[in-house]
């Protein structure tokens, strides 16, 4: 009798465990990947002395200047973190991807905060929706400028303080779309629109490209100042592949 009770308790516990794992998987940004899909991880580093980043004078916008009182803000053309890790590098599959049209559907936020774009560089899948948010107490105009004459088209919309988010997407791949705000000329950021999954390097330069089926790929790493680097990578079923990039400071 006691054994049966224990068995029942174990059953309930394992059911709860499975449910919670399923919930965690469903919460992940990338669509739940079939078990055969793998990932590519690695680190992007910068060799040499990074170029000087100019301080940004936001005195014309006191509300934004106040946000950065403690930590003076600089340009973000090259951001090097711990151990020479290069931040804001977008890593994606430039060749070999044959997955669905829009594989990633995480709806990331493109936030205007303290008169800066957060993130400064955003990866996007073709047709993946993103939200433009203004959390500043001031107006911004959001002005993405794709290559003129290309498949993506320039637009320019005002987003006053307290305005609702703008939900939109890009119909074609483009590395990279420069975004600026004409009211605050120091504001600059990039949207990198690619086909399939992507990863963006963090403070330590590490990135992870999720949802990659087994196969041979060309992996490209793009950085706004140094441009693109590529390397071949082979992904085996269920085994994460590793790829590292090193950019040289000019």
């Amino acid at each position: 009798m006691k054994k049966q009770l224990l068995f029942k308790a174990m059953l309930a516990l394992s059911a709860a465990l499975i449910l919670s794992v399923a919930w965690m998987v469903s919460q992940r940004s990338v669509k739940a990947a079939p078990p055969s899909e793998s990932s590519i991880t690695g680190t992007v580093k910068l060799e040499g002395t990074p170029p000087h980043q100019r301080p940004i004078d936001m005195s014309k916008e006191p509300a934004c200047a106040a946000v950065h009182k403690a930590n003076p803000v600089t340009t973000e053309n090259v951001v090097v973190g711990t151990d020479g890790g290069l931040k804001n590098v977008v890593v994606y599959l430039s060749e070999g991807w044959s997955g669905p049209e829009t594989a990633v559907s995480s709806t990331p936020n493109w936030e205007q905060h303290g008169c800066q774009y957060i993130p400064h560089v955003m990866g996007l899948d073709v047709n993946e929706h993103f939200k433009v948010i203004n959390s500043d107490p001031t107006s911004h105009n959001i002005h993405p400028m794709p290559k003129p004459g290309g498949p993506n088209h320039e637009w320019n919309k005002s987003q006053p303080a307290g305005a609702p988010p703008i939900d939109t997407s890009w119909p074609a791949e483009e590395v990279a779309i420069h975004v600026k705000c004409n009211i605050h000329p120091w504001m600059s950021g990039y949207m990198v629109v690619v086909k399939g999954p992507y990863g963006v390097s963090d403070d330590s330069g590490s990135f992870k490209v999720d949802g990659v089926p087994p196969g041979n790929y060309t992996l490209t790493a793009w950085q706004e100042t140094y441009g693109a680097q590529t390397q071949k990578v082979t992904v085996a079923a269920g085994k994460p592949a590793t790829a590292n990039f090193t950019f040289k400071a000019k």
């Binding site: 003129p148 088209h153 305005a163 703008i166 939900d167 000329p185």
Partner: protein, 300 residues
């Protein structure tokens, strides 16, 4: 015997080369398939083919043979002539990022562009002008793959009142028009000197204090349309997502008080003793609860 073979081969090569050359010419001619482009405005239908002569006569000097805005006069002009191959246009009734309607373009060449070297082409017949619009469109493939956006709706203009002008001033402050156009509309706002267009060329904001006519027209409806759809390719954004039609009219009335000519709005502002806004004052009360919005081409 051998020389004969050689002769034969030379002949064959010559014939082939000639055929190849003439074929190349044929393909080059066929490249301009876009000349079948049409344009429609009202009861008029324009054909690009019919405008080739007029384009060469009147437009090519600035806009160039290829429509890329690199005509021989272009170096002397500021602002630069429009590059039709990019199909980006300032004066639209359609949302930012979409193609203008044929009628928008037809109105533009009829009216000319204020503060630029683009004159009014009304001396040409309306048929000639609509043909030219078809010709302007033939320079970009975008017209073949995309439809123009849905024009924004402009409700009937309400009666000007003192309350509306005051409300317009609040909107002028809230939307921060003054950041570029200046607190008195003198184009001297804090961001005015840093503005560039989409080709990274310096560009000035509109000076309400000096100018009577706007880039895309001179009527109240034109002014309404300009700030609601924005001027694509310039720093002027679209405000259609965040300004309701009633508020837009209020803003039109307030902007009229800043202009140099005598206006009814200016008279009312004078009676009110309306002072320019104080940009350092706290922002006016914000609008009602935000509603979700998209970047679609739907009119607001």
């Amino acid at each position: 015997m051998r020389t004969q073979t050689l002769k034969f081969i030379t002949c064959a090569v010559a014939v082939l080369a000639f055929a190849g050359l003439s074929f190349a010419q044929v393909t080059e001619y066929q490249e301009d398939q876009n000349l079948g482009m049409e344009a429609h405005a009202g009861h008029l239908t324009g054909h690009a083919k019919s405008a080739a002569m007029n384009y060469r006569r009147y437009c090519v000097g600035c806009h160039g043979v290829l429509g890329d805005g690199e005509g021989e006069n272009a170096v002397w002009l500021d602002p630069k002539p429009r590059n039709f191959t990019l199909a980006t246009f300032k004066c639209r009734s359609t949302p930012s990022g979409t193609l203008p309607t044929d009628e928008d373009l037809f109105n533009t060449i009829g009216r000319g562009l204020e503060s630029s070297n683009m004159p009014s082409w009304n001396p040409l017949s309306s048929q000639n002008r609509i043909d030219l619009i078809a010709y302007v469109k033939h320079f970009s493939d975008r017209w073949k793959t995309e439809k123009p956006g849905t024009p924004i709706e402009i409700p009937t203009e309400p009666e000007v009142t003192a309350d509306r002008i005051k409300a317009g001033q609040v909107i002028f402050q809230k939307l921060e028009c003054w950041k570029c156009h200046g607190v008195e509309g003198m184009a001297n706002g804090p961001s005015a000197d840093t503005l560039t267009d989409d080709q990274n060329r310096p560009i000035k904001p509109f000076n309400f204090h000096d100018q009577t006519r706007f880039k895309c027209g001179s009527t109240d409806r034109d002014l309404y349309r300009i700030f609601m759809t924005g001027l694509d390719g310039t720093p002027m954004p679209s405000f259609a997502d965040n300004v309701k039609p009633e508020e837009a009219w209020d803003l039109v009335f307030y902007l009229r008080t800043l202009q140099p000519m005598h206006t009814k709005e200016k008279e009312i502002a004078k009676q009110l003793g309306l002072k320019p806004i104080n940009p350092n004052a706290p922002a006016p009360a914000s609008t009602p609860a935000p509603q979700p919005q998209t970047n679609d081409t739907k009119p607001q």
